[in-house]
Symmetry: C2
Subunit: 206 residues, 2 copies
């Protein structure tokens, strides 16, 4: 594997896997980079270049084994294991994400919930109790891998201040706060970016 792989390449891996899973579900066993590129609207050469970072996989004149490549991509992304998830902010967005993960993602196990609102603390979501910040601080130390943050900035910052010394390795951040915590990778989700791109397309029809 290359020592440096650009963010752009890594951001494309989930999409490759998504298409391969779908093709596999449709019974497709083998596909050329050209065919896959045509379905995904990228060039065959980009697919080959991207995958070459991880050692290739295709065979000249044979193409990729669909199920095999999908599994390899899962291994590369670490989707062959389970992650303990803590959710900070259990309002509508937090609950929508919890449902989404429960219904679509076998890789994630809900392991802790935090919300400081009095009417939320003590309630249960998907069998996990909602804790206030003070109590959640202890839960964070019990093997949570990823924090999903949908809480308002002040709460998000207070929780983030307690991350050091836990095993938390990643933050999936839906809020506006930016986090810079040593040893913790943060991915910021900017929902409206794709809505703004949609507006561009609406205003520039072909």
């Amino acid at each position: 594997m290359d020592s440096y792989i650009s963010d752009a390449v890594i951001r494309r891996l989930p999409r490759y896997r998504r298409y391969l899973k779908k093709l596999s579900g449709q019974g497709v066993q083998r596909i050329s980079s050209k065919e896959l590129g045509s379905i995904m609207d990228v060039t065959a050469s980009q697919i080959r270049q991207d995958l070459n970072h991880f050692g290739g996989f295709g065979q000249q004149g044979y193409g990729y084994g669909v199920e095999d490549l999908s599994q390899k991509l899962e291994e590369i992304m670490g989707l062959d294991r389970t992650y303990n998830i803590g959710v900070v902010g259990c309002g509508r967005l937090g609950q929508a994400i919890i449902s989404y993960l429960a219904n679509n993602e076998p890789f994630y196990k809900l392991a802790g919930l935090c919300d400081n609102r009095a009417d939320m603390v003590g309630t249960e979501i998907n069998g996990v109790k909602v804790e206030d910040k003070a109590s959640f601080k202890e839960t964070m130390k019990k093997g949570i891998d990823i924090l999903i943050i949908t809480a308002p900035a002040r709460i998000a910052e207070e929780v983030a201040a307690d991350i050091e010394g836990t095993e938390i390795k990643g933050i999936w951040n839906f809020g506006m706060t930016e986090f810079h915590i040593k040893g913790v990778k943060v991915i910021n989700v900017h929902l409206s970016d794709s809505l703004h791109a949609l507006c561009y397309y609406i205003n520039h029809p072909d």
Copy 2:
């Protein structure tokens, strides 16, 4: 303006605007492509190339006017007007998106809501009444520009079948269904793609 601009360029425009808005809010009036690139973790040359598709904007040795460029990008994306929004599926995710738009996005006006569940029909969200499919079919004809779809596949498909003949020009799709409707641009939001990228980073620390 170029006649063909790649999707990748268009997908980067909202991010440029986001950073410029933030810089403008911090009182920065002028910035070079090099400084902006360093903040955004892209190359100065990519910024210049991307913006050149729309006619440039920067001046050699002067840089970009932050507020001016931010406004130009809004005009290019069509964020200088208002869009009537219809939301199909008013569960947790639909409601989270409605709140998000109401709190963060001045460009969108909630103009119609659809949900077929008996306990939702007739309730109001942000002052707009939730309608069942049959009733929403008429609302769709009254100048809705963008449909946001979070409903299950069956409902989503039935609503989509009624889009032809309306003024709907875009779909912001959070569901798994794929839409192909003539004259309608669809952007599919795959929430978990960024979560899977996060897993990659967790498993490949620097």
